[in-house]
């Protein structure tokens, strides 16, 4: 074997490599796009789950939105206060963290009796199309329990509980609102952390009918309405609805509800909050 036979291709490849490298170098100089270094930094700080709760296509897009378009810096729901502070440092702004939001399922489901066997596409959306029975379970307003929101949740914060109703793990919930969008029965709502009094029912049927459908259905008995010292709770279309502008979260309605469907989740939230702060500090 001739030594030339080895050297020739080596030289050719080397020259080729050098030329292409040069072209690349020139191109990168010529077409260089100035990127604000802060964009990168903000992207680093963001949680990187791309949940879209901020309204941008993802974390990188939000970072660009903050730096280039001057978007609000407190839009990241999963990141909450810690992230807002970090972004504020990078951007040289003052932190104005909003209260974290949590998804709340407005159905307790206890006693919702499945009435029939369902056969078909097992997503909530598909189960609520026209032509299927209007009331998927006994209650035509309650959680279908097919778990479309569980699939949609980027944080794995939702699961079905023993009542076949979706439950939210607030340790994991980042308040991104993906579940709110997918629920065909509009049962999920984003509530600020401080909103601890929740009506866990959406049944708009008259008392007798609602009662027949579910043990935990609002029967529009008016007890909570009478009890409320702030005129913050009303029966709207056969259902107790809290006006949170007036509600002082005193929790009196919770005690009188015969169906236990008005709930006070203050204590749970308190513990969780302490937990979370501890964890964040540990990090």
């Amino acid at each position: 074997m001739d030594i030339i036979a080895i050297i020739t291709p080596v030289i050719i490849m080397a020259v080729l490599g050098a030329i292409l490298g040069l072209v690349l170098a020139i191109a990168s100089k010529k077409f260089h796009v100035v990127v604000d270094p802060r964009t990168e930094e903000v992207t680093e700080v963001l949680p990187g789950v791309n949940c879209g709760a901020c309204g941008f296509a993802g974390c990188a897009a939000y970072a660009e939105g903050i730096v280039v378009k001057g978007a609000e810096i407190n839009l990241c729901a999963p990141g909450a206060a810690a992230v807002v502070e970090k972004i504020a440092n990078i951007m040289g702004m003052t932190a104005s963290a909003t209260e974290p939001n949590f998804a709340v399922v407005q159905c307790d489901g206890d006693g919702v009796r499945p009435r029939f066997k369902y056969s078909g596409v097992s997503t909530c959306k598909a189960a609520s199309v026209m032509g299927l029975a209007g009331s998927f379970q006994a209650c035509p307003y309650g959680c279908l329990g097919l778990g479309s929101c569980i699939e949609a949740c980027p944080f794995g914060a939702m699961k079905l509980n023993a009542n076949n109703v979706v439950e939210i793990d607030e340790d994991l919930c980042a308040g991104c609102g993906k579940c709110v969008e997918v629920c065909p029965r509009n049962l999920i709502r984003l509530d600020p952390e401080s909103r601890v009094i929740v009506v866990r029912c959406q049944n708009h049927d008259k008392g007798a009918k609602a009662n027949k459908a579910c043990n935990h259905a609002c029967i529009a008995c008016q007890k909570c309405v009478k009890e409320c010292p702030f005129d913050a709770i009303h029966i709207v279309d056969n259902l107790a609805v809290i006006d949170y502008d007036k509600c002082k979260l005193c929790g009196k309605c919770v005690n009188v509800c015969p169906k236990n469907l008005i709930m006070n989740i203050r204590s749970e939230r308190k513990d969780r909050r302490a937990d979370r702060i501890n964890r964040e500090n540990a990090l």
Binding site: R113, P114, R115, F116, Y118, S119, A126, G131, L132, A133
Partner: protein, 411 residues
């Protein structure tokens, strides 16, 4: 609660369902393959049966493992893995090593089917893709016109046979050399004589083998014969037809049709495969478009176009126009199993009738081209179907049916 209504089924319309299910269809495909396999087992003996069983088991086990790994329900009860296992065994030679169907099954189910998303999502026919994989990985096992070497006794006998064959081969080379001197026609005579002699000796040998308790002898498939013969006799082949080169042509055709010529396990008998195919047509599991177009295209091209012939060390030659050995092309090799079982595979073929026609014609053209003009492969069915499998999304996009109430456009 004893409310009977908890038993009521609520589902979206329609509430009636046709009887055919995925399982019943797959079961019927297995049934349709049965005659071909029976002939194969009869011709090749228990080892072919063993290979088939290994192939099915390998496919089933791989499917189960993959589905467990993917964390989805195990669906081997839908028979689709069994069908793949059967089809893989169908296109394997009967004398491959025992591990070949295992490797093939793992490749077919694991790589070709499950890696692409399981039933319904694979791009290529698992069995054929596995065969192609084996063919490039271990060509000696798949390609060579090999002899089954199962026990010493048989091997001895086969050695003797080969010697006999060699003898006749030498004779035939000699006569060919003479023929070159004497000219075409005489050569043809000589060739026919030589082949007759070889054929006679072979028959004798087979009889002798049978006397010695051996059921069968595998040798080159008819298509390989066609190819090697044309190569060796190319010098005389200018201006002649394949039928003339293969003097025992009609016997060969009959043998391939009935299953007396060597081939892959379930490819041997065109008759059995056609019966299976007709059963599928009768059961409305397949439609006529794909098999008919595939077979007609191959028949037309192999009849019309001249075959290429390789002259060692010289230029290539061609046989005459309109004279191809059509029947041998139809019945020898894998065309029948390809036409009835492979290009009617649901998952990897187009959805529309028009698409099926295009698909089958494409398969036919590529098969014929490979068979007639490739120097290394006597058989083109496997690759032609795999190539056309790749084009299926494109064909589907082109042949969207015309929506009711829209004017005829490019469709």
């Amino acid at each position: 609660m004893n409310d009977p209504k908890t038993n009521y089924i609520v589902s979206a319309a329609p509430h009636l369902k046709a009887k055919d299910s995925t399982e019943s269809i797959m079961r019927n495909v297995c049934l349709a393959l049965l005659p071909a396999f029976l002939v194969g087992f009869y011709v090749f003996g228990w080892y072919a049966m063993l290979i088939t069983l290994i192939s099915i088991l390998s496919c089933l086990v791989t499917e189960v493992i993959c589905q467990k790994m993917r964390g989805i329900d195990v669906t081997i009860s839908d028979y689709s893995a069994v069908v793949s296992g059967l089809l893989l065994a169908a296109v394997l030679p009967p004398n491959v090593s025992w591990w070949v169907p295992i490797v093939g099954g793992i490749f077919a189910m694991g790589v070709v089917k499950q890696a692409f998303g399981g039933l319904g999502s694979n791009i290529w026919n698992p069995a054929l893709a596995a065969r192609a994989f084996l063919q490039v990985s271990i060509p000696t096992q798949i390609n060579s016109p090999s002899w089954p070497m199962i026990n010493e006794k048989r091997k001895e006998l086969l050695d003797r046979l080969r010697v006999t064959m060699d003898g006749s081969f030498g004779e035939y080379i000699k006569s060919t050399a003479n023929a070159v001197k004497d000219g075409g026609e005489q050569a043809v005579d000589a060739v026919s004589k030589a082949t007759h002699m070889a054929g006679d000796k072979l028959v004798d040998a087979v009889n002798a083998g049978a006397d010695n308790g051996i059921d069968v002898i595998s040798q080159a498939t008819p298509l390989t014969k066609l190819m090697t013969l044309s190569a060796d006799q190319a010098v005389v082949a200018k201006g002649v037809t394949a039928q003339q080169i293969l003097p025992d042509y009609s016997t060969l055709v009959w043998n391939s049709f009935l299953g007396l010529e060597p081939g892959c396990i379930a490819e041997v008998s065109a008759l059995a495969l056609i019966l299976g195919g007709l059963f599928l047509l009768y059961k409305k599991i397949i439609t006529w478009e794909a098999p008919v177009c595939f077979i007609l295209t191959v028949a037309l091209i192999t009849w019309v176009l001249p075959s290429q012939i390789y002259i060692p060390g010289e230029a290539t030659g061609y046989t005459e126009w309109f004279s191809g050995p059509v029947l041998l092309h139809l019945f020898g090799g894998g065309l029948m199993i390809g036409a009835f079982f492979m290009d009617t595979d649901y998952v990897t073929t187009p959805m529309t009738r028009k698409g099926k026609v295009i698909f089958a014609i494409g398969c036919g053209v590529i098969t014929a081209m490979i068979r007639m003009y490739s120097s290394s492969y006597p058989e083109g069915c496997c690759y032609s179907i795999l190539i056309m499998n790749t084009c299926v999304p494109l064909i589907d996009a082109w042949t969207k049916p015309r929506v009711f109430g829209t004017k005829k456009s490019h469709a």
